[in-house]
Symmetry: none
Subunit: 247 residues, 2 copies
Amino acid sequence: MVSIHQRIFEDIETRIMGGVWQPGHRIPFEHELVEEYQCSRMTVNKALSALAQRGMITRRRKVGSFVASRQIDRTVMDIQDISTEAELAGHDHSYRILRRKIETLDAATAAQLGETTGADILRLHCLHTVDGKPNALERRIIMLAMVPSARTESFASVPPGKWLLDMVPWSKARHVIRAVSADAATARLLEIERGKACLTLIRQTWQSSRTVTYVEIIHPGDRFQFAGDFHPTERGIPDQPPQRGSF
Amino acid sequence: MVSIHQRIFEDIETRIMGGVWQPGHRIPFEHELVEEYQCSRMTVNKALSALAQRGMITRRRKVGSFVASRQIDRTVMDIQDISTEAELAGHDHSYRILRRKIETLDAATAAQLGETTGADILRLHCLHTVDGKPNALERRIIMLAMVPSARTESFASVPPGKWLLDMVPWSKARHVIRAVSADAATARLLEIERGKACLTLIRQTWQSSRTVTYVEIIHPGDRFQFAGDFHPTERGIPDQPPQRGSF
DNA sequence: GATCCGCTTTTGTCTATACAAATAGATACA
DNA sequence: TGTATCTATTTGTATAGACAAAAGCGGATC
């Protein structure tokens, strides 16, 4: 039914995604996997090449294959959370938990997330400040079934985004960026005028088709922007052809 | 220096990305490519499998391999121009040139673009409509030194973004996304209320360190959004420094 | 100690061959 | 006409073997 190289691929992928093999862990040599799966080296090689192509492992001759450090798409990386950006830029970032409550998922939200009503969730609201000024409002839902340990985590010292990053592997994410006008509550918190244009980043993250977390991050439009450089050639097969973009 | 399968991959990819082979076009059979490249079928197969895995082509036994419907570099293309997006979604897109003027670059703008004052530019303003409703306002600067043929192009039948795409290769791009409140002129053109939140995409494109074009595309915030799914494993360059993700 | 050389290990690529699976199209048959 | 079957084509997978390229390692030489 499933091909051998596919099974090898999946076995290894599972272990990486599941955290059994942490970044840096050496993957068995090809000849060891040949032994284990009783197949030819080409078959093993196909599986490992695919993993390497996806960036899940890195391979070096004579050295071996290793689980790659958690990596994310460059372009997506540019659509990242403020704390990271802020810190990278040498600014001072702090945050404050506005709300932290365990609830059950109501029908409307469940539909929005594509999950079932009634699931236990942790709802978190968080205000981020950079250099003392309000910089972003974070409204987050964490699916407790996927991240049980969030139930007892206070997030007092580690921002939720970072905490999750370390706790749960994810396999898929979706981003939506919108411009919205600030409502009264948002305006007050961000210390801007009501109705002002804000940039909202919505991110939903899955682990094998089940939502891990959903977050909306609202930035005041004129104070925050995010940008990214990239080269169109940065993707594609290693050493890469020209690609199309748009002007 | 490049391996054969890689060359095959790139040759085909180039033709697809360059539009030489449109979606639906049948790619030569493996045995034909074997003949063309004088290599074994396994080598051809590796290239085609990689293309299939990336979703650039679809393959069916007994039938052949075909260029997949436009699938775009997901994350990058999600930050793409509206006309493409609109067309892909089966909507009706049209546009109108509001302004087309050859000027010289003033000091302020030059500084903003990182170019020298006094250069010849073409300034273009363009209103895009989707299904009859104003959908985006495009304000563009084209460096005429880089794209001399733009001087005589009317852009009556081909939108500037598309036209440039076909005319000039680019090596680097920078995107900035901002939320801004619509000023009076913008509001009138986009038929929205003044002060309403709008999403602005700014893109500057270079060819070997010289600006080719700079564009601001303003969307009404509640009518437009862009989104993208991706798998973190879908890319990544082998031999990557650790990267950070975010929840 | 420093440099160069060669050995060994591991991955990268390629070949030639083989058979399996899917399926479009032709053919035979009810 | 409609249906079942056969056939040819194309892709999918797997194998065994070969050599190349990268790189760690140790030893010889200066």
